[in-house]
Symmetry: C2
Subunit: 578 residues, 2 copies
């Protein structure tokens, strides 16, 4: 069986060549000391941790699951120890600011770390997965006193956070939540209510847990305009706070991640940010979380690709047409069969393409925070905010679809727990749902990021794509680049049409959103592959990126046009289905 091997070479290609990140780091004082050698060293250490400490716990953690016992939750054997090692190695502080006790390294390296954690052990990585988002949220919204008390634990990892949004009646629609908070005499608050599906709501990895809780103040207006954000620690002054874990969910996958029902009973908490403005504060955390969920899809895709490749290179069944040149024996490796080649190439090209876009988003976030020129920061933030819902939705769709394709390569063995791919398929499915379903991401992308007249996202993306197309002139990919440029025009016209139709038919963008999400993702993967092939060529790298780009344009890029035509068709849904 193939063990997880962190794709360090691919990560380095993206960072050093595709992004050429050093160029930007050199101009950002915050990253003056970061160079490729340091980056490579950090990623190699992260790889060692993911491969050696986390990957071996993945299947056992799935089999054992979490244990609930009278309000306490125990993660699978080995999870707490691995987390201890993670903290001791300093990983939680990687991308935290130096002035907060962090290492001040770029988000770009943090997404490299996260991809590896998720690929090696999605369930385990759920525990520290949102820690950086919580850190950012506290940085921005907590009072000095709260920051002094709680930030160090988040930075050094001795304390883990949760995001407490969902209630049984309030899932996608957070505006329906009922959890209440009342001001106490000492200026703190008392929270009451029930929260559902809280990842890491209770566990044995850390002593304390910091719950970030959405709740309503007594004078709150209804809906999302009446939601405030509170910091509610599991323990206050060394004593248990009023946060009770009533049970954990039995799930299809990520069984090693404790998904908890929490009950808040006169739980002591503190307001983060302003009253009734909790959603805005939570979104600081959520945006990071959405990018990170996208990385889960990338991790699953990469792991699936490694598994399928290894198995397809060993397993012999039937003679391929045509047989490989060195063919011997009664049967060829299944990697030689055309249907398997198609799957394998799809796995390879999609996972590599996703990495380019995902790392790009992280690098844009670094630029948005640390770029020297204001215009550069604004533009980077705009691009990152367009990419975020797209990455969340399309990467997780792909993580699941590619895990299924990889499973197919294994045949019947793939369906058995003896091989890890069926777990990958099960684990990957949740990422299409949490942190906002993929349908909600599609609405966010189209209705908030692409369609509004003042929003710069669409034009910025188009300009990136168009300029990359021009740079393919005279190369072997010129024809593909011309196809991409034509598609880009179709995409721009589709957006323009929707803007016009929207006034009279407000439902039109909602009907078109999912298709346009996939069309946009496919277009951007085309951009990513053109750029990868060009960079490889310009730098004389000896690799297969031009062939991969050709495969992408031959087999995967047609999805973009197909989806635009689906989005812009004429059928109107009528009554609800009966």
């Amino acid at each position: 069986m193939q063990n997880y091997q962190a794709p360090l070479d691919e990560m380095r290609f993206v960072i050093e060549h595709w992004l050429d990140a050093r160029q930007d780091w050199e101009r950002m004082p915050a990253f003056a000391e970061v160079d490729y050698s340091l980056a490579a060293q950090v990623l190699a250490e992260a790889a060692r941790f993911a491969e050696e400490r986390l990957a071996p716990l993945n299947a056992p953690g799935d089999r054992q699951g979490c244990r609930y016992e009278a309000g306490r939750v125990f993660a699978p054997d080995g999870f707490a120890d691995a987390y201890k090692a993670y903290v001791e190695a300093g990983w939680p502080s990687l991308a935290c600011a130096v002035e907060s006790g962090g290492q001040g390294l770029p988000q770009l390296l943090n997404v490299g770390l996260l991809e590896m954690l998720y690929a090696a052990n999605h369930a385990w990585a759920m525990y520290p997965g949102i820690a950086h988002g919580a850190y950012e949220c506290l940085q921005q919204f907590a009072s000095d006193g709260l920051r002094a008390e709680y930030l160090p634990g988040l930075v050094d990892g001795t304390c883990l956070p949760t995001m407490c949004l969902t209630e049984s009646q309030a899932g996608s629609d957070v505006g329906l939540l009922r959890c209440r908070a009342e001001l106490a005499e000492d200026g703190s608050y008392r929270l009451d209510g029930n929260k559902l599906f809280i990842s890491g709501g209770e566990h044995d990895l850390t002593e304390d847990i910091l719950h970030l809780v959405l709740a309503r103040l007594p004078d709150a207006p209804p809906g999302t305009a009446g939601i405030s954000l509170f910091l509610v620690p599991k323990r206050v002054d060394g004593l248990a706070n009023g946060v009770i874990c009533d049970g954990i969910e039995h799930k299809m996958g990520i069984k090693g991640s404790a998904t908890c029902s929490l009950r808040f009973e006169r739980a002591k908490g503190w307001l983060l940010g302003e009253p009734h403005k909790g959603l805005a504060a939570m979104f600081v955390m959520m945006n990071g979380a959405r990018l990170h969920v996208g990385l889960q899809g990338l991790g699953h895709a990469e792991f699936a690709w490694q598994q399928a490749r290894a198995y397809a290179g060993e397993r012999r069944q039937m003679r391929a047409v045509p047989r490989p040149k060195d063919a011997v024996g009664a049967a060829d490796v299944i990697a030689a069969h055309p249907a398997m080649q198609r799957i394998l190439m799809t796995l390879k090209v999609q996972s590599q393409g996703m990495r380019m876009l995902g790392f790009w988003a992280a690098h844009l976030l670094d630029t948005a925070e640390h770029g020297v020129e204001s215009a550069q920061r604004v533009e980077a933030l705009a691009l990152a905010s367009v990419l975020t819902p797209l990455i969340k939705a399309c990467f997780t769709d792909q993580g699941f679809q590619l895990a299924s394709q990889a499973l197919q390569v294994f045949g019947g063995y793939g369906y058995c727990s003896e091989y890890p791919i069926e777990q990958t398929l099960r684990d990957s499915r949740i990422a299409m749902i949490y942190e906002g379903t993929n349908e909600i991401q599609a609405n966010d992308l189209l209705l908030r990021k692409l369609l509004p007249v003042g929003a710069p996202g669409a034009a910025l993306l188009a300009s990136q794509v168009r300029s990359e197309c021009r740079r393919a002139e005279g190369t072997a990919l010129q024809g593909r680049a011309e196809d991409l440029a034509v598609l880009l025009g179709e995409w721009e016209r589709a957006l323009q049409t929707l803007r016009q139709e929207q006034a009279e038919q407000p439902q039109r963008p909602y009907e078109a959103a999912v298709d346009l999400l996939h069309a946009t993702a496919s277009m951007l993967q085309g951009y990513a592959w053109l750029r990868a092939a060009r960079v490889s060529r310009e730098r004389g790298l000896v690799d297969e990126r031009e062939a991969s780009a050709q495969f992408f344009f031959r087999y995967l890029f047609p999805e973009a046009g197909h989806r635009i035509r689906l989005a812009m068709g004429d059928w109107k849904p009528g009554a609800f289905p009966q």
Copy 2:
């Protein structure tokens, strides 16, 4: 939670209107006594069994799984009792010939029964699922003596069969199998070897089990030309035969179905059919099995649709754009949101469309066996043999994809075992693999059924589709029919091109097979919906079939053209992926 409700109205629509089966039954002496009233009665009884006896065992069976204990296997609690009730009600003999003690009813009713069994409890239905195929195999290939001894048990269900093909090194490639059979002095054989992934290889549902085993005689040529088929009972003359169950697999789904490793040690068996011609005999069984596996996909899709529809009609989250006319409160049912409508309509239209094609195939098999005119029988068999791989592959792909879409409707709840949809997703995944992977079905469809110059399949399909297109003239669907006719032309040209290219590039059809499979399926669903809408209109039925057909052509039919273009593109895979 929504319990499974057999879609009897939809089945009756297909049988009585879409197929108008009575017209054909009346001309077949074998079915002289079959009419719609009898058919409806049989299906209603089957529905009661599936809903009341099987569906309640589905989730508990998944949780409990099978138990292996020192060579013995125990199905989940209740499975054996339900099987006893199934036998007592006479279901095993439904479509067996009257002269063999069966009820002599059409396959068409049997597929109705099977759809319900698979939808209600896939794992349970695995035990009797291949019984009819084994019955047909014995009918055709067993000696009189063997028939007299073993057929009655298969007909009345007191004995269950297995198909023993797979060995660890021989999965898709049955030609690699090593199991040996030697002639004994009494004319029987002694079998030695190991078989893997044997569904129902050992269980506590029946006293005896009839293993149909592929093995090699001492003088067998290598490969598939040296495989013979043997009947190997679990018990001979009241004593245990040399068939040992070494264990069961731990699987992602269908956990209530015992997937066994079997060891044959000097096991007594009898030859079925001629020496070295075992594969042909096994294919009699396998063809039926492939249709039945397709019905699993249909069952999963129907169940998923029922689940999603019920949940989406109750769960309220956010206001839809536009809000439903009767909207009240802070949030609308999620069925009113465009992205959910799209999923729900897709579930509905795909599952109903699959049923039309699946039942058509069964009716063709009835016609092929009992049709009065020889030309009619030949044509029906040719059509059924084109439809079989298509139904197996596309229905099971859809069963899995639609289960995933339905799960998405449930959000986080869908990922929890509290709701049944995550089990449906897990159960459905195996059907894309067993009885020949879907990639192998695609090769079968294209290389054996559509491309060969003498094979009548492509022309017969085309003529069906073309004539239905003509009948839409002057109706609301005329434009859609014209699109379908254009697509049909593209499809025929694609086949013609592949026939020409095949000589010089033998790998071309293998590269195009999966895409053409999906293109063909989408084209035939277009045919099915045109026909459904026409029949509804002609008969004055009050239903939504025209709207469903419009949805199909608007959102699902474009897949056909997309897939043809993918199949006929110009990219050539190069070296194996690295």
